[in-house]
Each structure stands twice: as structure tokens, then as C-alpha cells.
């Protein structure tokens, strides 16, 4: 399978030619985002010699007849006078003109819808404002569709219309047909991506065999949080010759961000900024990473840079918000997140981040509202659920927050943070059995914060299950030392002290003294002094039997 793929990619020249021609086609139809994607990809490939550059497609009779109208309409279209463009295209017969005609009618409807939102008749009607043109468009397109007269672009438009009308099942069918008709058009793939909700659905679709499909699958895996598969796909794409593509680099960086491999992600983002210094997309993710690592100067630099490029972008606002948040100026941070939301109310990340800011400001009610909005925009936003859980935990309502943590856990079953949070809640409710289960599970799915085992050990300690506690501490210490870098874990000394005492109690003096010695390396006063005294006892004990006979004195 892999072999056939690589041979497909072997002909990079062919791919480049395809990209160039699709760029031209999309450009003629005003599909700007697809143009951007295709040309970004084309840019990453080696330039073609003059004789290889594909010629412009030949005009048909119909095209020639519509040429003038199309020219005029396109100019109006570019100036956002959609109704005017549609008016001059109404009699045209060619496919290209037909698409532009329908597309400008659609966009005109969308524009009017947005305008009307501002002055609707009443607050409740706000949600009801809709694109009036959609139904007419659907009727006309469905007629043409059943007659089989739609080309790839028109199919794409039909799909968009269906999606906007909430006819999702039909929309998926149409988008799949669109990808078959015109596999190179990234827009159809992207729309399809938004409609697929789980892996079973993805598997059930029959998609065309084309190199674009690999891009789509990689994107899809990222969306479905199947990061490992996504990274594999992107890796193979890079090996196949797209190594220079900024698109792929950014996608990989986002994927690393999702699995919290911060160093890799940071490295990639830095590389991305070197290659494409004026890029604004994905920079909010980058700033999140910088924030997590508390890299103040870098974040500040990024913020300055982005403001210079374009200060009225959602991403810019988010970056600035993160910047202020890192400087603990939470009011200002919230202000910038609000601005981001004004620019795009469906911007999910901003709602969640604003919730975090309100949490910092101890304004729990506003935080709850912000998180709730985030959930309304996207029910699958685990950070918002987690945030709600945290809010209620801060309000000292652990039982109440259980529900929210559980929701978050459902969405990210393999994320240890939710499990640890759940465990803490159970611990507060004195439900030790559940708490133990949560911690153990958190450890088994790969604990990022390395706290689960420690908590589990302490829980065992509380319940007087000494062997289990010691076992946990041992694994914990092995874990800490095996990962190489010495983190400033104050808890290591606690673990060592406990182990020392445990060995001592079980008369394993060599191990006990080893643990105590290791413990002395840490400058945590109380535990070191305890270790010192214990070390003394351990050294003494072979000679002084009284101590062993009467362990109470030792303890």
C-alpha cells in the first residue's frame, strides 16, 4: 500500500501541473481559500521549466459567448457587488458562468444575512435570520443535479447550500460526489471534513483515489484526535516531497500541540515563522504553547509582530490576550478575548480562553458563562467542560464538578489530566475506591504531569496499604529518574523518605539506607532531617537490637 502511494507521489511534476491548473480554475471562480491552499502547496514544489508549464484550457463555444459577461461579472464579484454580478450572468450557459452566477447569489444571501443580524426586529429573532436565497438555490441545483448537469464546482456549491440548510446527510453525499468529480478542489474536502464526526463514518465513505486524499486523511485524523495516525500520514507526505510546505509544517505543529508535545511543536512553529514570517494563521496555537512554557519575551515578540501585520484578526487578539494573561493583567486579557469574539463570535478558543481569564480574576459567574458559550459553539470542546469542572471545584463543590469532568473525560478518554481531576474530586468526597481507579487509569494512559502515581501512593498511605503505597512510590521514582532530566519535583524526597521508612520497617536496611542517602540530596528540610536520623538508625540497627525489638522508638 505504502509503495503504491509513494509511486503516486513520485511524479511530483505531474502534481505540480495539476496544482497550477486547479489554481487557475479556482481563481476564475472566486474560490479564494482553495486558491491559497493549492498555491501554497505548489510553491513548496520545485519550479517547472517553461515547456512543462500547462497551457490554459481551451475555450469552448459557450465559453467564448459568455466571455464578456463573465469578465464583467467577475469584476463586480471581486468588488463584492454580488447581486450585480448575478444579474449580468443570468442568461449564461457555460459551466463557469453558471457556477459564478449561483455562487454570487449565495454570497449575496450570506452578506445580507450578516447585515440583517444587526438590525433584526427583535432579540429572539436573532437566531432566525437566515440566508433567504438558500432554498431557491437548493431547488435549482437539485434539478440540475438530478439531470446530471453539475460539474465539480457546482456540486461543491450544492453541498454548501445543503449544509447551510442543515441537511447534513445529503450534504455528505454531495461532497463525496464533488470530490469524485474534482478531486483537486480542496474546498470540498474541507467541507467534508467538517461533516464527519467519527471514524466509522469516515471508513464508510468511498473516496476517490488521489494524492489529495492523503492530505484529507491526515487532516481528518487530526480533527478526530487520532494524532498518532495523523503524524504518520504527514510524515509520509513530507517524505514524498512536500517537506517545504508550510501547510504541512503548521498541521504537524498543531498535531504536536494537541498531544502536548510542546518542544516539538515549538520547534516547528519557530521554523514556520522563519519560512513565513507574516503568517497569522495558527499563531494563536503557537502563543498557547509559549504561554504554557511561560516564554515571556518570545510571546511579547510574537504579539508585537502580529500587531504590526494586522491587528484586527482573531488570531492577533488571542495572542495579545495570552500575552496579557502571562503578565497577569487579566482584565486586559479578557478585553482582547472579547475583541476576538466580536470579530468572530464562533471563535471557539476565545470563549474558552476568556473563561480561563475570568477564573484568574475570580469572577466565577462570568467564567461559567464563557465556558457555557464555548460548549454551545462546540459541544465537543473538552477544555470548556474541564474549565467548568475546575470552576465548580474552586467553589468547593466537588460533587457538582464531577459531572463536568466526566464529560471532559468522555471526550478525551486518554487524557490523564481529566482522570487526575476526577480522582481528586473523588478523594475530596472520600470515595477512595473510585479515586484509586482514576489515578491508576491516569497512570496507565500515560500521565503527562506525573502526579497520578504520587497521589495514588499517598492515597494508599492514608488507607494503610503500605505495600501498595511503596510499590507506587517505586514506580514513581523510576519514572522520574528514567525520564532523564531532573525536574524540580519536591515530591521525590517525600517518596524516598517513605520508601526508606518502609524498607526500614521491613528490615531491609541496605535499601533503607540507600533511600535515605538519596533523600539527603534534596534540600527539603523536614524530609532530609528525617532521613538523617533514619540513616543513623539504619546504620546503628545491626548492632543495637533493642531498636529493632522496639520499633516504636524508631518511628
Amino acid at each position: 500500500m505504502a509503495a503504491t502511494r509513494s509511486s503516486e507521489f513520485g511524479d511530483l511534476v505531474q502534481i505540480k501541473k495539476q496544482l497550477i491548473s486547479i489554481t487557475a480554475q479556482c481563481k476564475e471562480r472566486g474560490l479564494v481559500h482553495s486558491v491559497k491552499w493549492a498555491s501554497e502547496l505548489a510553491f513548496s514544489l520545485d519550479p517547472l521549466p517553461l515547456n512543462e508549464i500547462p497551457p490554459a484550457p481551451e475555450l469552448t463555444e459557450e465559453d467564448a459567448r459568455d466571455l464578456d459577461a463573465l469578465c464583467l461579472a467577475k469584476s463586480y464579484f471581486d468588488l463584492k457587488e454580488y447581486d450585480r454580478a448575478a444579474y449580468f450572468l443570468r442568461g449564461c450557459r457555460s459551466q463557469k458562468a453558471y457556477f459564478l452566477y449561483m455562487y454570487s447569489r449565495y454570497l449575496s444571501g450570506e452578506k445580507k444575512k450578516d447585515d440583517e443580524t444587526v438590525d433584526s426586529l427583535g432579540p429572539l429573532e436573532k437566531g432566525q435570520v437566515r440566508n433567504e436565497a438558500l432554498r431557491e438555490l437548493r431547488v435549482e441545483l437539485s434539478k440540475k443535479h438530478s439531470a446530471g448537469e453539475l460539474d465539480g464546482f457546482a456540486l461543491y456549491l450544492y453541498g454548501v447550500v445543503l449544509r447551510k440548510l442543515d441537511l447534513l446527510k445529503e450534504a455528505v453525499e454531495i461532497f463525496v460526489a464533488a470530490t469524485h468529480a474534482l478531486p483537486l478542489h480542496w474546498g470540498s474536502w474541507l467541507e467534508l471534513c467538517n461533516l464527519i464526526t467519527n471514524i466509522e463514518m469516515l471508513k464508510s465513505l468511498s473516496l476517490p483515489e488521489c494524492w489529495v486524499r492523503d492530505f484529507f486523511m491526515a487532516h481528518m485524523f487530526t480533527e478526530l484526535q487520532m494524532i498518532k495516525e495523523a503524524l504518520q500520514k504527514y510524515q509520509s507526505l513530507m517524505e514524498a516531497g512536500f517537506a517545504k510546505s508550510t501547510y504541512i509544517i503548521s498541521q504537524i505543529a498543531v498535531a504536536y500541540h494537541n498531544i502536548r508535545d510542546i518542544d516539538q511543536a515549538l520547534y516547528l512553529f519557530n521554523e514556520l515563522r522563519e519560512q513565513d514570517p507574516f503568517r497569522i494563521e495558527n499563531m494563536d496555537t503557537f502563543s498557547n504553547l509559549l504561554y504554557v512554557r511561560s516564554m515571556k519575551p518570545e510571546l511579547s515578540y510574537l504579539a508585537h509582530n502580529l500587531v504590526e501585520i494586522d491587528k484586527y484578526r482573531v488570531e492577533t487578539c488571542c495572542v495579545i490576550g495570552n500575552y496579557y494573561s502571562l503578565r497577569s493583567q487579566h482584565e486586559k486579557a479578557a478585553l482582547y478575548f472579547q475583541r476576538a469574539l466580536k470579530l468572530n463570535p464562533r471563535c471557539l478558543g476565545a470563549w474558552t480562553l476568556m473563561g480561563h481569564e475570568y477564573m484568574e480574576m475570580k469572577n466565577t459567574s462570568a467564567a461559567i458563562q464563557a465556558y457555557r458559550h464555548a460548549i454551545e459553539v462546540n459541544k465537543r470542546d473538552y477544555r470548556a467542560w474541564y474549565g467548568l469542572g475546575q470552576t465548580y471545584e474552586i467553589l468547593k463543590m466537588p460533587f457538582y464538578s464531577l459531572y463536568y469532568y466526566r464529560k471532559a473525560h468522555q471526550l478525551r478518554p486518554n487524557d490523564s489530566r481529566m482522570l487526575v481531576a476526577l480522582g481528586e474530586c473523588y478523594e475530596k468526597l472520600s470515595q477512595q475506591v473510585e479515586a484509586k481507579k482514576c489515578y491508576w487509569r491516569a497512570y496507565s494512559v500515560g500521565d503527562v504531569e506525573r502526579m497520578a502515581l504520587l497521589k495514588l501512593a499517598k492515597l494508599h498511605e492514608q488507607l494503610n496499604e503500605f505495600d501498595d503505597a511503596a510499590q507506587c512510590y517505586i514506580i514513581y521514582i523510576q519514572d522520574i529518574f528514567s525520564c532523564g532530566e531532573q525536574l524540580e519535583h519536591a515530591e521525590v524526597s517525600t517518596a524516598l523518605r517513605y520508601l526508606g521508612q518502609y524498607y526500614f520497617k521491613n528490615k531491609l536496611y541496605d535499601e533503607a539506607s540507600l533511600c535515605a542517602q538519596r533523600c539527603c540530596d534534596y534540600n527539603d528540610v523536614s524530609s532530609s532531617s528525617a532521613a538523617h536520623s533514619q540513616l543513623r538508625d539504619a546504620n546503628l540497627s545491626p548492632f543495637g537490637k533493642i531498636l529493632i525489638l522496639n520499633p516504636k522508638q524508631v518511628m
Partner: protein, 752 residues
């Protein structure tokens, strides 16, 4: 690429990250439908001569029209037509003329309020002024939009209106040549994708805030008071989703959705809706009238408390306990005594549900509630105490005194809910003491009482647990008297009033099963009783076990029966269920009889007698005494037995069920017969009379087995008395019945 002009999409309602649903305080706005209502009002006030009846009907129509959801013009006209035929054309005409473009923009005449109208009703005047205000606030483009929607609204209905000879209509149709074309297309699509479009069509447009509030209030009221009249769960959920789609900030809709999903026992949606509601409420509490921080914290406490009740409702006692503890902790921190009090009352309820003793908790709750002047919680606590006291054998006078004391307070404070509970409780207590007449009287009192609650939406509250309990008691009481037709009527009513999925349905289900079981047992149709046992066990395991033992005993499987009875005895001792303990003792005694261990049955029966006397359980006392008398008869001391029977006979005849009466009389007759062996003739004669009386009761119940016994005894008596013809008649009757019934193998003497 889809959303152009996204920068224009800003939300003017949002300040400080908080979206205010309604910044201008407009709860209503002008819609084409509202204009139609206004047109109707206008016509009503201007047409002077009108039949009184018509006018009355129209006046009654106005309120639902104004508060209800927007209708289509067709529906609206139809409703008006039903009331007053003449009005329709006038309204239609006026409405059509509102379409006149010139007039619409210049004079806005339809909104001009004719003078008499304002004065004749405050409410309608307010409505019209609101409409006028809302209209005046519209910007030019909004007015244009309103005009367009008005046009569409008319077009959708009929060619009729457009056919009206007004020149402006021509103007509009000229103006919009594509309109018809679109209509045709829409028809096409309808045929193409009927289902989707239909679903789009049925969901009505957005409700204004006022309409939505009215809708929610009405449905919530109906859910509380008479669920059958409310919308079906699925439909209500659809409506709620619709409201929430248009206005996600409308928190009350979430609460109604919580209530609705509790109705269908859906824990997932109900939890979700409840939490969502409180998440939203916390906000509005923060900026509402109640001073900032206080209101916010308060809703947090009640959020957890509500969560606890939710888990309680679904029987998740551990979860409920945890939630309750949390609520108590927060309330303690905030020093909120009222909330703490609520928590405490839930705590003892929870303890009771878990089956543990909670008297101390309840007493504390009553004391504190009285201290903080919370009459509702206090008397709820007292009622709960009375219930527990009754079970544990508190003296009857104390219990009834306590109930009366609280009753006085209920009437003073008009706590109608508690009055109902109190009546139902008295019914149960009388029933438990075995005073069927008193019980019947109390139940009737409750059912015939006029509720103190205001009657809204023409629905009176009659679906509380109290009603269900009283009705069940009535059904059982009637069943005891053999009035099965009445019972089935009551059951039908209960089924209708408390559909099987509702909370209190289990009450009548159990009651129904018990009655059927008893009936089958009395008729000797044990194969019919068997499935009922399984069903009863599903609803109440103890009761199920007891019935199973009874059935096994009747089928002569004594070993199994005695095993089950022993098991039951242990259970009852643990749960301190006195009534059941006595019953189990009686049943064990009967088992002893079967093995002729009459002497061994005696201590059991005496123990049962002591217990039942101690707890004032009169019916059980007399039952026990009958058992004792029978044992004595069997042990050969009929004199003693007869004395005992005659002692109890009075109370049995007064309060007992038909079968008990029959059994007591039969026993008395047998005692008399036993005595007659030694003594004079007259004993035999009285015995014949007693048997006749008993026969009346048994024949009412159609209890053939016992009838057979009676005929046998009668025949014997007549034989000794020498009434040959009577004897022959009785023996013939006996023979007939004996052929009909399967021979039980049991001799006539061996059971009570």
C-alpha cells in the same frame, strides 16, 4: 469563504463578556400576526351593532390569541370565523388594506388606536401601546422588512386577498414578478423532499419573549398539576429545542426540559438540563435584583440541592447523599439557615428511603424549622414523624393529636398541599388500625375537597401522591366488600390520572395486583394468582415474598412456604415492619395447623396478639383472636373458643372485610356445633342461623370452596335436627359444588 463580512457580525447585546438577552427591555415586537390581531381589535371596537353573544365570544378569544404563538393567517381567520362569521370579511378587508404601501408607510393606520378601545380595557390598551412603541422603535430597514413579511404572510394564504380590488395589490404583484414563480418552485421541492420541508414547516417561527414565557408557565403548571393535559414529552421537547435554538439564553426553558425529561425517566438529559439551567441562572442571579454576591451563592447552593433531589428521584442514594453533603457544607459556610433546613428535610427523607431510622434527624429538623419560622418544612417534618410513629406503635391519640395540630396551621396558612397529605395520612392510619369506615370517610373528604390553590388554565391539581394514596385505599376498601365493579372504575381513573410512566404509578400498580391476587386466592384459582406474585415482587419484594408463601401454603407445599416465612420473619425484624411481622406469624401458625401442631401454634399466636394489641392494629387483633379461637376449637375447648369468637364478632362485622365476616361466622357456627354435641337443641338452631348468615357473605364473594363447606355443615346439622328435606337440599348443593371444584384433599375442618 462562506461567511463574508464577518466583521459586521458583532453582538450589540454583549457587554463585559456577558450576553444580555434583552438589553432594550422589549419583550414583544410587531409581527404580521400581531397586526392581524390588531386588525381584529380595531374591527371589534368600530363595528357598533353586534350581537351580544358574538361579542362575548370574541372577547373570550382575544386573550389566547394575544398570548399564544403566532398562527398563520389561515388559522387565524378560521378561528375568528368560528366565533363570528360577519367579522371575518371585515377583518380580511382591513388586513388587506394594511398591505397598501402608501398607507403603510405614511400613516401606519392599523396601529392607530381608536379612542374607545383604550378606555374599555386596561389590558388591551397596554398591548396596543406596546405594539405602537415597538413599531416606533423600528429603523427604516426594519419597517421595510416588516412590510415584506406582511406581504409574504398574506400571499401564503390565498389568492383571495390579493384578488381584492385594491390598486395597491396590483402594484405589489408587479413589483415582485418572481413571487409566483418561487411559489411554484416551492411546490416542486415539496414533492421532491417532502419530509424535510414538512418538518421545517411544522416548527413554528420564533416566539417572542412574552409568548415563550407564557408557554413555559402554562406547560410547567400543567406538568405539576395535571400531566395528561400537558403536551406529550416528545412534542414538548421539540418546542423547547425550538425556543432554545432562537434564544439560547432563555434559561427557564432548560428547567422545563429538566422537568420534561424527568417525566420520561431520562437521567442523562435531565441532569444535563438541570446543570445547564443553573449555570445560566448563576449569571442572572449575579446581576439580578437580589444583591449581587448573595444571589449568586444562593443559586449555587440550590443547584447542588436540586442535583441531590434528582439523584434521589432516580434512586441513586449514594450519589444523592454526596450531593446533599456538599449542599450542606456550602450552606453552612454561607450561614444560610433556610437552605440548611431544606437540606435537613431532604436528609431525613433520604435516610427513610434508604430504610434506616431517622427519627432523631426529623425531630431536629422540626425544631429548627419552627425556630426559623418555616411552617411548610416544620409540618412536613411532623407528618414524617407521624408516619414513623405509626409504624413504631406510638399511641394513636398522640399521632392524631399531632396531625390535628398541624392541620390547624395548614388551614391558617392555606398550605393546601400539606392539607392533602395530612388527609391521606389520616386515611392510611385509620386503615392501618383497621377502622375501615373512618378511612373511607377521610378518603372521601380529600377527594371532595376544593383545593385552595388558584385554578389556572382550568386545571385543578389532582395528581399528587396524596390523591393516589387515597384512591388506592378506596379501591382496596371496596375490594374488601366485594364491589369489584367499583374497584375497576377506580383503577381506570387511576390509570388515566397517573399514567404508568409517572412517579406515583407504582402505588396503584401494587394495589391493583394485590386486589387481583386476593380475588384469585379467594376463588381458589391459584394458577391465576401465580403471575401476580412475580409482578408484586417486582414492585415490593417483601410483599411479594409474603404472597408467595401464601400461595405455596394454599398449594400444600408446606416446606417451601415455611422456609420463605422464616426468611420473611428475619427481614421484618430487621426493618421493624410490625404489620408484616404479625401477618407472617399468623401464616406460620396456619402452617402449624396443617401439620396438626395446634399446640405449637399457640405461642406464636399469643405473641402476635400481644404485638397487635400494643400497636392498636384492630383488624389484625381480631384476625389473631379468630386464629386463637380456631386453635382452641381444634384442641377441644369449644366453650373458650366460642367466647373468644363472640368477643371479636362485633368488631369484625363492623370493620372487617366480607371474607373475614364470613369466616368469623363460620367459626362461630362450628363452635356452636361442637358445643351442641353435649348440650341442647337450641345451639344447633343458632348454628344453622349463623351458617346462613355466613353463606350470605360468601355467596356475595362467590367463594365456592367455603360455600361447599357451609353446605356440608348445614346438611349435617339438618340431619341431626331431622329436617330431611332441608338436609337433602343442602347435600345436593354440596354435591353440585363438590363436582365442580377439584377436590382439594383437605378435610373441611382443617382451616379457618
Amino acid at each position: 469563504m462562506a461567511s463574508v463580512h464577518e466583521s459586521l457580525y458583532f453582538n450589540p447585546m454583549m457587554t463585559n463578556g456577558v450576553v444580555h438577552a434583552n438589553i432594550f427591555g422589549i419583550k414583544d415586537w410587531v409581527t404580521p400576526y400581531k397586526i392581524a390581531v390588531l386588525a381584529l381589535l380595531h374591527e371589534m371596537s368600530t363595528t357598533k351593532p353586534m350581537a351580544l353573544l358574538d361579542r362575548r365570544r370574541l372577547n373570550k378569544l382575544i386573550l389566547p390569541l394575544q398570548q399564544g404563538p403566532d398562527l398563520t393567517l389561515e388559522q387565524f381567520l378560521k378561528i375568528v370565523e368560528e366565533c363570528c362569521l360577519r367579522m371575518v370579511n371585515a377583518v380580511k378587508h382591513r388586513y388587506a388594506s394594511s398591505l397598501n404601501k402608501e398607507l403603510f408607510f405614511k400613516k401606519n393606520f392599523i396601529l392607530k388606536i381608536p379612542e374607545p378601545l383604550i378606555s374599555f380595557s386596561l389590558f388591551l390598551g397596554l398591548f396596543m401601546r406596546q405594539m405602537l412603541l415597538a413599531y416606533n422603535k423600528l429603523s427604516f430597514s426594519q419597517v421595510y422588512k416588516l412590510y415584506k413579511s406582511l406581504q409574504q404572510y398574506c400571499h401564503r394564504v390565498q389568492p383571495e386577498l390579493s384578488a381584492l380590488p385594491t390598486e395597491d395589490m396590483e402594484l405589489t404583484s408587479n413589483e415582485d414578478p418572481s413571487a409566483e414563480h418561487i411559489d411554484k418552485d416551492e411546490l416542486d421541492t415539496a414533492s421532491l423532499h417532502q419530509s424535510e420541508l414538512r418538518s421545517e414547516g411544522t416548527s413554528q417561527g420564533p416566539l417572542s419573549q412574552k409568548q415563550a414565557e407564557y408557554f413555559l408557565a402554562r406547560q410547567a403548571y400543567l406538568l405539576k398539576n395535571d400531566e395528561n393535559k400537558a403536551m406529550s414529552p416528545a412534542k414538548l421537547q421539540d418546542e423547547l429545542n425550538n425556543i432554545l435554538k432562537f434564544n439560547p439564553d432563555f434559561a427557564e426553558a432548560h428547567y422545563l426540559s429538566y422537568l420534561n425529561s424527568i417525566r420520561v425517566q431520562d437521567i442523562y438529559i435531565s441532569t444535563h438540563s438541570l446543570l445547564h439551567y443553573f449555570d445560566r441562572l448563576i449569571l442572572s442571579g449575579g446581576e439580578g435584583k437580589s444583591n449581587g454576591d448573595e444571589g449568586y451563592g444562593r443559586s449555587l447552593r440550590y443547584a447542588v440541592l436540586n442535583l441531590a433531589t434528582l439523584h434521589c428521584r432516580f434512586g441513586h442514594y449514594q450519589q444523592a447523599d454526596l450531593a446533599l453533603q456538599e449542599a450542606i457544607r456550602i450552606a453552612q459556610e454561607a450561614n444560610d439557615h433556610v437552605c440548611l433546613q431544606h437540606c435537613l428535610s431532604w436528609l431525613y427523607t433520604l435516610e427513610q428511603m434508604k430504610g434506616s431510622d431517622s427519627v432523631v434527624l426529623t425531630e431536629d429538623s422540626v425544631k429548627i424549622a419552627a425556630h426559623f419560622c418555616l411552617p411548610y418544612l416544620a409540618s412536613l417534618g411532623i407528618q414524617s414523624l407521624v408516619q414513623q410513629g405509626a409504624k413504631q406503635g406510638m399511641p394513636a391519640n398522640k399521632l392524631l393529636d399531632a396531625l390535628r395540630g398541624t392541620d390547624i396551621m395548614h388551614w391558617k396558612q392555606s398550605l393546601s398541599e400539606l392539607i392533602e397529605i395530612s388527609l391521606a395520612q389520616t386515611t392510611s392510619i385509620w386503615r392501618m388500625y383497621g377502622k375501615s369506615t373512618m378511612a373511607r370517610q377521610q378518603a372521601q373528604l380529600l377527594l371532595n375537597m376544593n383545593s385552595l390553590e388558584p385554578v389556572n388554565f382550568s386545571v385543578q391539581q389532582n395528581n399528587t401522591e396524596a390523591f393516589a394514596v387515597a384512591l388506592c385505599h378506596l379501591a382496596e376498601l371496596h375490594a374488601e366488600q366485594g364491589l369489584y365493579a367499583v374497584v375497576s372504575d377506580i383503577m381506570k381513573h387511576l390509570k388515566q390520572q397517573f399514567p404508568p410512566h409517572t412517579q406515583h404509578a407504582k402505588l396503584w400498580m401494587l394495589c391493583d395486583l394485590k386486589i387481583q391476587f386476593e380475588k384469585a386466592m379467594n376463588d381458589g384459582k391459584y394458577h391465576l394468582a401465580e403471575p401476580h406474585v412475580t409482578a408484586i415482587s417486582a414492585l415490593n419484594s417483601t410483599e411479594g415474598l409474603y404472597r408467595k408463601a401464601q400461595l405455596l401454603k394454599a398449594l400444600n407445599q408446606t416446606t417451601e412456604a415455611s422456609q420463605i416465612l422464616q426468611q420473611l420473619q428475619q427481614q421484618c425484624e430487621k426493618s421493624k415492619d410490625i404489620e408484616m411481622t404479625i401477618r407472617v406469624m399468623l401464616a406460620s401458625a396456619e402452617l402449624h395447623w396443617d401439620s396438626s401442631g395446634f399446640a405449637t401454634a399457640l405461642p406464636l399466636l399469643l405473641q402476635a396478639l400481644a404485638l397487635s394489641r400494643q400497636h392498636n392494629l384492630q383488624s389484625l387483633t381480631s384476625e389473631t383472636l379468630l386464629h386463637l379461637a380456631f386453635t382452641q376449637l381444634m384442641l377441644g375447648i369449644p366453650e373458650q373458643a366460642l367466647v373468644l369468637v363472640q368477643d371479636v364478632l362485633e368488631s369484625v362485622l363492623a370493620h372487617g372485610s366480607l371474607i373475614d365476616k364470613g369466616r368469623a361466622l363460620l367459626l362461630a357456627a362450628r363452635c356452636q356445633m361442637a358445643l351442641a354435641g353435649a348440650a341442647v337443641q337450641e345451639h344447633r338452631l343458632t348454628a344453622v342461623h349463623t351458617l346462613d348468615e355466613a353463606a350470605v357473605y360468601f355467596s356475595q364473594l362467590d367463594c365456592k370452596e367455603r360455600m361447599r363447606d357451609i353446605h356440608y355443615l348445614q346438611a349435617r346439622l339438618h340431619h341431626t335436627l331431622g329436617n330431611i328435606s332441608q338436609r337433602n337440599k343442602c347435600s345436593m348443593l354440596f354435591r353440585l359444588l363438590d363436582q365442580e371444584l377439584p377436590s382439594s384433599g383437605m378435610t373441611v375442618v382443617s382451616h379457618l
